[in-house]
Symmetry: D2
């Protein structure tokens, strides 16, 4: 009977084309929920190798068994390097896991999470049991809006701003939220004096880091004095992932101090990240390190530049 | 938006290894229900190319869009060749579709359907909407038992006995229900004088017919005077399928008489089968016809033969 | 060791999307040859389930183990119904198998095979061992040209014209070779008095026949007095395939006469086709037969009509 | 035309079941060579995402585009930590890439490479162009033998012994070459006084490290005073991979000293590894580090233990 159960379970597969010539396939237990918003399609799958998996527009967003690597890496370094993070702003993050990790910090007083897609947020709030407590935390303010419009409409500043958005594909929905002008004129003005910005930065594998990671790093280098790229292998993504942390104050923390702050400030135990892990994650391999230092491309917003030029032309 | 919907929908696939080196894959909308009995695993999938699909132990049993080809072919020829079929016995058939087609015949007074797996029957009764009416028909008697034990325990005879069982794989669950001795000593004695036996007979493609179709045909030829093999291509099976009909009275019906009886006896319209279709289906291609005539293997039950030998030895 | 061989061999697969939501996959032994012409990509694969397979632009064209079904069905009925076929014209057919089957007929004196793609012809001549003899037959005249241009440039008539072309997809390379005007003004004038035209006619399965089969049938009905559609299941295509034969003289041949002519005229034995097989193949199932009779669409050549209209306008 | 080329190229796939429920698939350009030895099946594939790929028994061994990560990691740390490595012994390594990396070290005088499978060695020597020079280097001694038998037959000692073998699957071909008794009684006696042993140690991902990595680490800890586990993400393996280095002298080298020795001793430039990279690679994440420290299993050779017991019983 066991045999036949396995037989059956292997009949249904989730398949993702990671690149045009590369496929990654998970055996399925079931398709738990499906939905669609005005922007995207959403599905919650129960996969055999990685548990419940959130899939948006046919792309895996996060999987139950290893999303902790992504979310601990995105959230804790920036919050631990900051001397006393109280106010946070999340661009995107509708899944709720980024907020969940932030809310584990005892210093945090207010988290503003701004996602453009209400249906995704509702879907995750309904089905992702692990984030239910976070969605109910009174410190969480949920805003449905474009992150740029929201940040531009705000008067207050934040201790940490976190980018938890889709990759900057040209013409894609989030491209404008990775440009030099956005960082310079929208994000930086909304950071407090010791403020830290951190963003997910796409695949960071030995080949894949040139897609967007190196360019996000180089773009942030144009705007902030101190920029730290780091990465971690996420099994369900079949790749190493990257993040970039940026500030105008230097990042100074030994592995021991990192661990001490973790202990003092964070409720519960991290599963993935500690001081040594971050030391390793922020020491890139020769190949990736060299490639990042040699990157020359900067994300700019063609349209914005055109408008300025147009403005100048009008002045003539 | 449409684009992304398609993108998502193609992420999940049902995959069946038809042979070790041949795969057949359907894009999935959802996995509707899954269950397990003491004998087998059951699933109802919603597939994009073939609608709802019943899968048992990782093998497609029938698909919404084309199961009518299988079930019309299994049921109607035998019932139409019979002068006045009133009492029927189905070996297997737990899905309910065979009963559904039988119950469309106005002559039918009693259908005894005998399936060994109560959970499969309950699963199909619950989820296969198209067979709900059949499951409620007062002419249907549902028995949970081994078909051989049941037939052997019966005193009455049936006008038509229908085999709707898994293929005769040696060591498989149904092998014994395809043997010469079973046909001779169990089935034939339970047929009325004009009685007809018909059975599904596995794949009947130009290569695949040697797996079991030719041997079932040859085995029935040892027991009945008149034996008619026929076949039809079933798209969701990615193959041509076979059935064999057998009796001790000759099968004499022109296509026109076939159509006339269809009209007189069957409620509603067939979608696939009529007189001409059956004429075509029962005229096999040169390759398959020759191969069937040259088949020499007969399914026998090793154990039974051993007992006879043993008996004779005892007489010495 | 055997085990590991199988293990290895199942690592490489040929995969074809038969429809957007339906995949058909063969385990590969090797990729024998690949090439590209100005029109298309060509590959010869060694597959485990179906032997050597010719693939053009990612679509299976024919497979070693069952191409005889397609080519016997395409060639022999038309040539057998014709009283004495001497001169033949093949539109397409670069693979060489259609010529091979024609050249088995003792009556044949000249076969003109006109394919547009020289590289495909060269590729097949080099690698398809089974057709080598045919390519060397002195009765074969090979022309590299557009079949329409070639037919229009010819003065002589042919006893049988055979269409062995890609399906009539709108905007596709062969659409114009399936239109009413092409049949009426180009094909028919090049047929002798008893001449027969036959064409492959795409998938003819219970669902797939509406793609092009029914419409090719209906288009030919507008041009010829007698039109015979027929079909056969081809395992490697995962579908039933269709052909349509058309003439202005009736098709009258009993299965016995068919078999007799086969014996008299064809060298060697057919594997698939004989009189009974053709009787069955040309008796379509109720579903397909009804659908063909109800078809109203006729393939017309938009561009051609526009040109005529334009011409008349110019005359005004 | 480009479009169709892509269309074609995506028709053929290499597929590996990384685990029972996880598949990893590469589009294929071609199957370059296949072969079989008395032990295993061998294939060289040309894949689109990772170039030429060596596959043994259906498992990817190394891929052209990223094998440098594996082989630089396996070879250089041990050779750089050693004060002056002259004599080397490779267990396995028939592919030739491990020898190639070793032979880049100017200090090296003799490399004994001992692989059990002559056909694999011949296959790689013939087809892996990148290792041709190494196979011809006069410092390379190639032995076809079981690595244990060979080591036990040797009298001399080696500065570095390198294990480049298949994973220790119980009952698998290499299990005995990962046991405590093998390390203690066969490997260690054949190391010079400052000698270093290093072995590939299987997958080292956040979940997969418990398969064999943690146990190889713990087994080596029972035999050597100083043991260093380290890991790196290898894209074509869809996982992070592990190695363990062991010695009775401590491993003391700063990243700068590591880089300096690299420069002095190694011909050409490393692509992946330098001092910082190794510092990162040998600092495991919290999850893996904790799990390694808590590992209690030791690989032992059941048979050997039984013989000892049997001996003692005989003494009674």
């Amino acid at each position: 009977k066991n045999h036949s159960l396995n037989g059956y379970r292997k009949s249904c597969w989730y398949e993702e084309e990671i690149e045009e010539n590369l496929r990654w396939c998970f055996a399925l237990n079931s398709i738990l929920h499906t939905g669609a918003s005005q922007f995207q399609d959403i599905a919650l799958l129960d996969t055999k190798p990685f548990g419940k998996a959130l899939v948006i527009d046919g792309k895996l967003q996060s999987a139950e068994t290893d999303e902790f690597i992504y979310h601990e890496s995105l959230v804790h370094p920036a919050l631990l390097y900051h001397p006393n993070p109280k106010t946070l702003f999340i661009m995107g993050g509708g899944e709720g896991s980024t907020a969940r990790e932030i809310l584990r910090h005892r210093t945090v007083e207010k988290v503003s999470m701004c996602d453009i897609d209400e249906e995704v947020v509702d879907f995750c709030r309904s089905y992702l049991v692990v984030n239910r407590e976070a969605f109910c935390d009174p410190r969480l303010e949920l805003i449905i809006n474009d992150a740029r419009a929201e940040l531009e409409s705000r008067k207050e500043c934040f201790d940490v701003i976190i980018g938890d958005l889709a990759d900057p594909i040209e013409g894609g929905p989030c491209y404008k939220l990775y440009t030099k002008s956005f960082y310079e004129y929208t994000v930086k003005p909304r950071l407090t004096r010791n403020g830290i910005f951190v963003t997910q930065a796409g695949p960071a594998g030995i080949f894949s880091h040139t897609e967007v990671f190196s360019c996000i790093y180089n773009t942030l280098k144009q705007v902030f004095k101190y920029v730290v790229p780091y990465s971690a292998h996420i099994p369900s993504f079949a790749d190493t992932w990257g993040w970039v942390m940026a500030s105008d104050v230097p990042f100074c923390l030994s592995a021991e101090e990192f661990d001490l702050r973790m202990k003092q400030r964070i409720k519960g135990e991290n599963r993935y990240l500690d001081g040594k892990t971050f030391a390793s994650a922020s020491t890139l391999s020769k190949a990736v390190r060299t490639s990042l230092e040699n990157e020359t491309q900067v994300y700019t917003e063609g349209a914005a530049r055109f408008i300025y030029g147009h403005g100048r032309q009008n002045q003539d």
